[in-house]
Symmetry: C2
């Protein structure tokens, strides 16, 4: 198994006839999936998603780093989107801002979702709709699209034929053998590609650590049925706003139990509207009602389907838990949180659950019922894939390092030689030359932060400042200097915010500052910056040494 | 099931002969467990632990709120400590600061651990050592101590006999029927107390949501054995520094496989030293080596037992993952993370796992092997307890609201009338009068923050400031006013830190400030505070309206 080496530099020129694969996101993290494939000077991009921040204060989204392709935008033949999840399409608007006419290629639902998103950014894209079985020549890339099963309808894998070798990219997928919509991952095509020859197989690693097989979506039906059979008053279902099949199950149960359904939350209303319009969500006539008209119905005739399953503070469910929503949750209500719990969101989700239960609601969630199954192939399914495809080289994609390594181990177990299994992270260049894939270099690939309306200007220094401010607050020391005499005209004026100690602690430090400044004046130090450093030292020594604190210290000398 | 009501006020005087129970921590949260029991004007405290902060920037620990007992310190007959975990003993030093001579009552190991902690606080406590079977009269409280099984040795439940009724308090416990040390939860005594009559049963709710039975500790032996049988080089085990039985399993395996063991990390060294000295940890002669002398051994002769299983950034394991530790982890090393994953720590823990795997180590953890079992009774065990004890009234303790409610539901399932099952949170007063428990009021019970050396001064306002600073940074606007003319002598000098936008955005706002101040001067506004408000409005309107940001805005007017 090949590990990237820290000593790697920029890659050499790609040998003629070679295929270059450069992941710009999604390898070494869960999110912002984006892979660039190059052949004969032309580029094909597969997916362009966002990553949600963890410990990045004030950051809204993290984008792939476009630096590697910024000077080569004209070389891009298309952006292929495997499915409509945010971590695969969320960064498309930011890439199209650089060049709005790069064609987007994807399935009907995927393109509808990305177009809705682009509309908010006032971008009208060029699109090419494909479906399973479609074959399209995009520049030198001969692309065949294949149905895969995932937690959103209409997901596609893509088989890239190039004169330099064939790549099979799964996108996100699992292999539910009895999916609700009957659309299975097309292993027959995987087998056909295997016969033809898969030189590099890029496979979803998200669940590679999970032994066995992912539970079928239909196995959550009994838990949903139980909720409908026992709920006394309202049923409030929270799930991902893209999980059409999950919502379908809820709609079917509502219909069977004579309840009406209202969608709540902007993204839920929008996405389910799109899914219904395009025929992915089947809504019986008269089932849906406007959330504003729920007052006309008895509580036991109502189902709400809403956002907020991850404890997002502004989403409908969190606001209900905080009694800050027109839906007034109370005893007899049943809340069904039919979604995964994304690592890092635990505290927020449990806060919501506790809040709802305190109001008297019953809460059915992943922790106490089978109300969620994953959208990704577990180890057992990945083994099937490797055995059916028999690839020459493997490159795990989509996951943290631990997921990529677990996936690599599976490939090796099925007989792929370890030297042909490439564990690479974002920015690591993998070249497929003469049927052999190997790491040849690295390209710049940092985090690009979306911070309000700013993209790419927030950097690690700013985040470090925010972390210091968060933990320790700040102290400003303002001194006004008489520009004629050079003496202190006012101050030191000391203010703190977020700082744990009382401002009175500075009574002891004030004379030190004055002394240090007077000393500096006598020595002829006039430069404001130097004086500020002198103040910083006088205050910092006291705060760090005596109080054992590390706030941000901001000395300001002003001439008046 | 009784819910606390927000309209509750201070409780009435406790009727003569009644017993009052006031939880000051641990009910509605996981941590800072502390319960005050009152009879005939005397108080007994059971446990006094800390809570670890979640979204409390800069806070080190959260303590129970002592306000309710601060004026009644002389009424306290003893502090009974059920076991030596931080969430049950961690706040003892802070309580003893108020009155150092309150006796501490607990088992040998529990008292040894709390004494080591108190030594760091330079407090020598009065102690009374008890063990299973001990019976002690502490004021009017006739206390009998009972063995319970938990994830630390020497844990005790306590049966409190008072003329006003009998209380059985489990502390934290589970019911491993084949524990490594043979010390089982003493259900025979539970049965005996049941025969005598348990008027109020206070039971550990932590795992009440978990169906079935907690897996026995010995069931992790195969996973540990497998690590020892297959490890090529070093074995590095991370676990809680109080988990004596877990460490015992590692020592036994090391002995069997001819490896030496070094303890790493201050709390691990200290606690295992105490446990070994007192005979709770059995260390074969010559097995332990000093971590500094590992260089004398081959890598495949070494086991390290260290802290850091929760991804704590300063602990040994995190530093190894960051290559910031003298132990230089590499290929062939195996890391065994033999602990739970406390909610909220997921990202930190996965960061450590990914870091170690990137260095080439194999990591065995809860996600891929059975290397941890819980220390708390699951629903099945709690049902046994209720059926054996047959209590008159039940009050779930130790847990978030969802855990308390799940535990209450179990009590009701076994036949305890719902009206006798009291779900109360911190500060809610439960009175046991004439055999009937009920909620009678609330007492003050806030979060008390330890922030560096300060206790109780950090408040919600300060935390709110830190959250604003974290997300948006701050903007200071300094204006120096000539105290003779009232005109601006210098400034506006605008500085920002943690603020996303470039300082150049203020070019547009500077003239507005000058205009607003000049306008104020003409109108005769002289008050500095008022002028600062004028600046805030001028800047705030621009930043909030135009930039859509909400940083902390700090206008400062200085006279010179």
């Amino acid at each position: 198994m090949s590990h990237p080496h820290p000593e790697l530099g920029p890659p050499p020129a790609l040998p003629k006839g070679g295929v270059r694969v450069v992941p710009l996101g999604g390898l070494g993290e869960v999110g912002r999936n984006m892979t660039v494939v190059e052949y004969a000077g032309r580029l094909l991009i597969v997916d362009c998603g966002v990553l949600f921040p963890e410990d990045h204060p004030g950051v809204d989204l993290i984008l792939p780093d476009f630096e590697y392709i910024e000077d080569r935008l004209d070389d891009i033949d298309a952006i292929v989107l495997t499915h409509g999840h945010e971590d695969h399409i969320g960064a498309v608007p930011y890439l199209l801002r650089l060049k709005p006419d790069i064609p987007l290629v994807g399935s009907t639902l995927t393109l509808a979702l990305v177009e809705a998103k682009l509309k908010e950014h006032r971008i009208t894209p060029f699109t090419l709709t494909v479906k399973e079985g479609s074959r399209e020549k995009l520049g030198p890339f001969d692309c065949e699209f294949v149905a895969v099963n995932h937690s959103i309808p209409d997901a596609l894998a893509v088989f890239l034929r190039t004169p330099g070798g064939n790549l099979l990219i799964t996108g996100d997928f699992k292999m539910d053998q009895l999916p609700l919509d009957g659309r299975i991952t097309d292993l027959r095509s995987f087998a056909r590609f295997g016969e033809e020859g898969v030189d590099l197989f890029l496979t979803d690693s998200t669940n590679a650590e999970v032994p066995g097989f992912t539970t079928p979506e239909r196995d959550i039906t009994p838990a949903i049925e139980r909720v409908f059979a026992t709920a006394e008053r309202r049923i409030i279902v929270a799930c991902f706003s893209s999980h059409v099949h999950r919502v379908q199950q809820v709609l079917d149960a509502a219909q069977a139990h004579g309840r009406k359904v209202a969608m709540v939350g902007r993204s839920m209303v929008r996405n389910m509207g799109i899914a219904a319009d395009l025929g992915y969500l089947h809504v019986p006539d008269g089932l849906l009602v406007d959330a504003k008209k729920l007052g006309d119905l008895r509580d036991d005739q109502v189902v709400l389907v809403c956002t907020g399953s991850q404890g997002e503070p502004m989403a409908a469910l969190s606001r209900m838990a905080n009694r800050d929503h027109q839906i007034d949750v109370g005893p007899g209500d049943t809340v069904l949180m039919a979604s995964s719990l994304i690592p890092g969101n635990e505290n927020a989700v449990y806060r919501v659950i506790n809040g709802l239960m305190r109001l008297g609601a019953r809460v059915v969630h992943k922790g106490n019922a089978l109300v969620h199954v994953s959208g990704h192939a577990s180890a057992g399914e990945l083994l099937y894939c490797y055995n059916i495809v028999r690839p020459r080289n493997v490159m795990p994609i989509h996951g943290e390092w631990r997921h990529l390594v677990a996936n690599a181990d599976l490939a090796i177990l099925t007989g792929v030689p370890a030297r042909n299994v490439i564990v690479a992270e974002d920015g690591v260049v993998v070249d497929l030359v003469d049927g052999r894939a190997s790491i040849t270099g690295v390209v710049p690939c940092g985090y690009v932060y979306v911070d309000g309306s700013l993209v790419g200007t927030t950097d690690e220094t700013l985040l470090k400042d925010r972390r210091i401010l968060r933990d320790e607050g700040f102290v400003t020391i303002i001194v006004v200097r008489d520009s004629n005499t050079g003496k202190i005209a006012a101050g030191p004026d000391i203010r703190t915010r977020g700082f744990a100690e009382d401002e009175a602690v500075f009574d002891k430090v004030r004379p030190r500052i004055e002394e240090a400044l007077e000393d500096a004046r006598r020595k002829g130090v006039e430069d404001t910056h130097q004086l500020q450093q002198i103040i910083r030292r006088a205050v910092g020594g006291y705060i760090g040494g005596k109080l054992r604190r590390r706030p941000m210290i901001i000395p300001i000398v002003i001439d008046a």
